[in-house]
């Protein structure tokens, strides 16, 4: 049996490794995405003060600390049995929109975008942010940098710090919004709305008007028929900050809708000895291995997951785009992994429109920002991180110290799906032991669509995704090496 190790994928070095095994016929038998790292947050959060948990857990990820801060404080709200004031909820959600703005912009322009904007067939040396600049113009690059920085700035104004925000407290938030800051945020958000519209137009011009790209999006190696999970509001519309969690089956029917506190009835995690990351699945269906379809409990989260489980968006432009995506790609749910990119832009549109609603809300600058926490107990906090549903579950003792902490992060939910997408992309390109040079690009596109968090830093990488594939025969002799 032959073994192909994509190791290290430079931008994942220390944080991700792909191994592909071939069978005797030289076709792909299986592929493994290994996460070679663990830090142990669920253990060392034990014993900590409740109010420290939304601060400590931001250090799980420096790209999405706002998501951990919010899931953490919502778990605290629940554990202290306190409802934040309306003003605090609005401020938290506005900060959260700022986070989505910078995160989605970076993924689209620096990481996922090059595949489409420059083109999947373009030489590797061009398929990067520099290639995007070349194709779209330097002015566009300046706008990208400016609006990403706006997202960070909004987070910093409300959260105290851009990376690892600190202001969310059980029952509310520590700092009210001054009128001066409100005006500054409004100015930035208005600009972001225009930038989101521009980004959708760019996608339309370059991708959707190109039949080849649309065919690529819907092509077989990139299709996985899984369940989907995401957060919805009372009307089943997408919401990032709050709501119930809805799961649809591969046909798009509601499988279950549950409150955050009920997550243990729905989700379980499986452990494999070859990776430090756990593999979640739907408890009612069970772990059936890395297979898709309705008989397998594997589900996916993130932009496409959220749009697939929802009945629409609450803001007008995002709703129009939502309808257009499903019309173009043949109705709901969309199983094409590459549609994650389009979904991400629709969400960027929503984040900016929602931020504008919030920052112009007459109540946003009110001073009633905190309610007093009650007695410490147990609580679950769920938000939609940019990459998908994020679950924090805290059990506090009578001194409000953490007795038990359980965390399920977005990329963990997607880990089984990412493994399968990589395997399927490889299967389409490796036959009789012959590895096409296109393998590198295609494998890369398959997992890049998910914006996996173990590759979080790829968000701002200036190069293309560097890959190396080594092919060994059954005696561990190196047969072939591909590299770029």
């Amino acid at each position: 049996m032959k073994e192909i190790i994509i190791d290290p994928i430079t931008r994942l070095e220390g944080h991700g490794k792909i191994t592909i095994f071939l069978n005797e016929e030289g076709d792909v038998e299986n592929a493994y995405l290994q996460v070679p790292e663990l830090r142990g947050f669920e253990r060392f959060c034990e014993g900590r003060r409740a109010e420290d948990l939304p601060i400590i857990t931001t250090r799980i990820c420096g790209v999405c600390p706002v998501a951990h801060h919010m899931a953490g404080v919502k778990a605290c709200d629940a554990a202290f049995n306190v409802e934040p004031t309306e003003t605090a909820k609005k401020l938290r959600e506005l900060e959260y929109c700022g986070y989505f703005i910078y995160d989605h912009i970076l993924h689209f322009y620096f990481l996922g975008g090059p595949d489409f904007v420059v083109g999947p067939g373009a030489p590797a040396a061009k398929r990067n942010i520099l290639g995007v600049i070349e194709k779209a113009g330097l002015d566009v690059a300046k706008e990208v940098i400016k609006h990403r920085a706006y997202g960070q700035k909004i987070t910093e104004i409300i959260g105290g710090k851009a990376t690892h925000p600190v202001t969310a407290l059980p029952g509310g938030i520590s700092k009210a919004l001054s009128e001066e800051n409100r005006q500054e945020i409004e100015r930035m958000v208005r600009s972001c709305v225009d930038f989101a519209k521009f980004s959708l137009k760019l996608f339309d011009d370059i991708v959707l008007k190109n039949v080849d790209y649309v065919n690529l999006i819907t092509s077989e190696p990139y299709v996985l028929k899984t369940y989907y999970m995401g957060t919805v509001d009372k009307n089943n519309k997408v919401n990032f900050y709050d709501g119930d969690i809805r799961i649809v089956d591969p046909e798009g029917n509601e499988f279950v809708k549950f409150a955050p506190s009920e997550y243990l009835d729905v989700i379980e995690e499986h452990v494999e000895p070859w990776t430090y990351v756990k593999l979640p699945y739907l408890k009612r269906i069970g772990w059936k291995g890395l297979v898709d379809g309705s008989e397998s409990g594997i589900y996916r989260v993130g932009p496409l997951g959220r749009l697939n489980v929802a009945d629409g968006m609450t803001t007008p432009i995002a709703q129009e785009e939502y309808e257009r995506m499903y019309k173009t790609l043949g109705g709901k749910p969309v199983h094409a992994t590459l549609a994650f990119h389009w979904a991400r832009l629709i969400e960027l549109m929503y984040a900016t429109e929602r931020a504008l609603e919030l920052v112009t809300d007459p109540g946003i600058a009110r001073k009633d920002i905190r309610n007093k926490p009650g007695k410490a107990g147990e609580g679950v906090g769920i938000v939609e991180a940019a990459r998908g549903t994020l679950i924090h579950h805290y059990t506090l003792d009578e001194k409000a110290l953490a007795k038990k902490v359980n965390l399920i992060v977005a990329t963990t939910h997607n880990a089984p799906g990412i493994c399968m997408s990589i395997r399927d992309a490889a299967k389409g390109l490796i036959h009789n032991g012959e590895v096409s040079d296109g393998l590198l690009n295609k494998v890369e596109m398959a997992f890049r669509a998910y914006d996996p968090c173990f590759a979080c830093a790829t968000h701002f990488a200036i190069g293309d995704m560097p890959l190396e594939v080594e092919i060994y025969d059954d005696k561990k002799r190196l047969l072939k090496k591909l590299r770029r």
């Binding site: 070095e13 420290d52 990376t163």
Partner: protein
């Protein structure tokens, strides 16, 4: 070899960390273009196509300055720390994880066995009746898969290799990053072993008014009605400002939450937690007041346990 380049060679590496240090580098925004004009980045796994073995092949001292973020939690990270020490003339511990272990260092209250038990067995969403855990080498039906060893103890960079400079913070504040890079460009680096941060504490940068300097009871931040201008210690809330290195412009107190200590030990402080406890003792109206501080390790050593005189908990066999 002058004909090749007059440019300085920089390297960046991340060990056990969150990626926030990389974001901090990115947050110098357009100034990164000035930096790139003056340096060649010869290794940056998150951004450039340069593999471990390319670094291995570099002559010793090939890299002028290596910024190393992240703590040492696994075998692979230790290996990279040792290799980069050999290849770099100047090694900078960059960020709280590399300098002090950061919150990852709180893992030293446990060991590999108990961390695995929590992660892979006890957590309520985990279904693992046979207690399967990740193995450094595991035979799947198709072949063998390998993972780096997870150590019992988190170590700082300086506990692993010789370090030339320290720049802490979680993440390091952008102005300090620019200052350090400026000092490198101008050949104005201070003596080896220096901390590239202001020689003052967070209190020195904090605009909050310090009043009575007496502490009669310890409260939690969510229990008080913060008046938004008085020193947190005067309001009975533990604020790590006195024991913590400045450079952040007291961002947290300015956002109405106490400093939690991410800048690491203040100037002339070797043990951040001990310094804070002693600061509290000096203003406590009664020695027993200190006992009201719940979770002293997590409060006083949140970012520095791995680099403290305590370092780790002794585990019973």
């Amino acid at each position: 070899m002058k004909f090749m380049s007059e440019k300085l060679k920089f390297a960046f590496y991340w060990a056990a960390s969150c990626g926030g240090c990389e974001i901090a580098v990115l947050d110098i925004n357009e100034k990164i273009l000035d930096v790139v004009a003056k340096v060649d980045i010869v290794f940056w796994p998150v951004a450039l196509d340069i593999k471990y073995k390319d670094v291995e092949a570099m002559p010793d001292k090939h890299i002028d300055v290596c910024f190393f973020n992240g703590a040492i939690r696994t075998e692979e990270q230790e290996y990279m720390a040792k290799m980069l020490r050999k290849k770099a003339k100047v090694l900078v511990a960059f960020g709280s994880c590399a300098c002090d272990g950061c919150v990852i260092g709180l893992g030293n209250l446990w060991n590999k066995k108990t961390i695995f038990e929590r992660a892979y067995s006890e957590t309520p969403s985990t279904k693992n009746p046979d207690f399967v855990t990740p193995k450094t080498s595991h035979a799947v039906k198709e072949g063998e898969l390998e993972l780096p060893e997870f150590f019992d103890t988190v170590k700082t960079l300086a506990q692993t290799v010789d370090v030339d400079y320290f720049l802490s913070g979680c993440p390091p504040p952008v102005p300090l990053i620019l200052q350090a890079v400026g000092a490198i460009f101008n050949g104005e680096l201070p003596p080896k072993g220096s901390v590239l941060m202001p020689k003052k504490s967070v209190c020195d940068e904090c605009p909050r008014e310090k009043k009575e300097k007496s502490l009669s009871a310890i409260k939690r931040i969510y229990e008080i009605e913060d008046d938004q201008k008085t020193c947190f210690l005067d309001q009975g809330v533990v604020c790590m400002g006195p024991a913590t290195r400045a450079g952040c412009d007291a961002q947290c107190p300015n956002a109405n939450v106490p400093c939690t200590g991410c800048g690491g030990p203040g100037p002339r402080v070797t043990d951040q937690g001990a310094a804070m406890i002693s600061a509290l003792a000096s203003i406590a109206t009664d020695p027993t007041v200190i006992n009201q501080a719940v979770d002293p390790i997590g409060t006083f050593y949140k970012y520095s346990l791995a680099n403290s005189i305590l370092r780790r908990k002794v585990m019973k066999k």
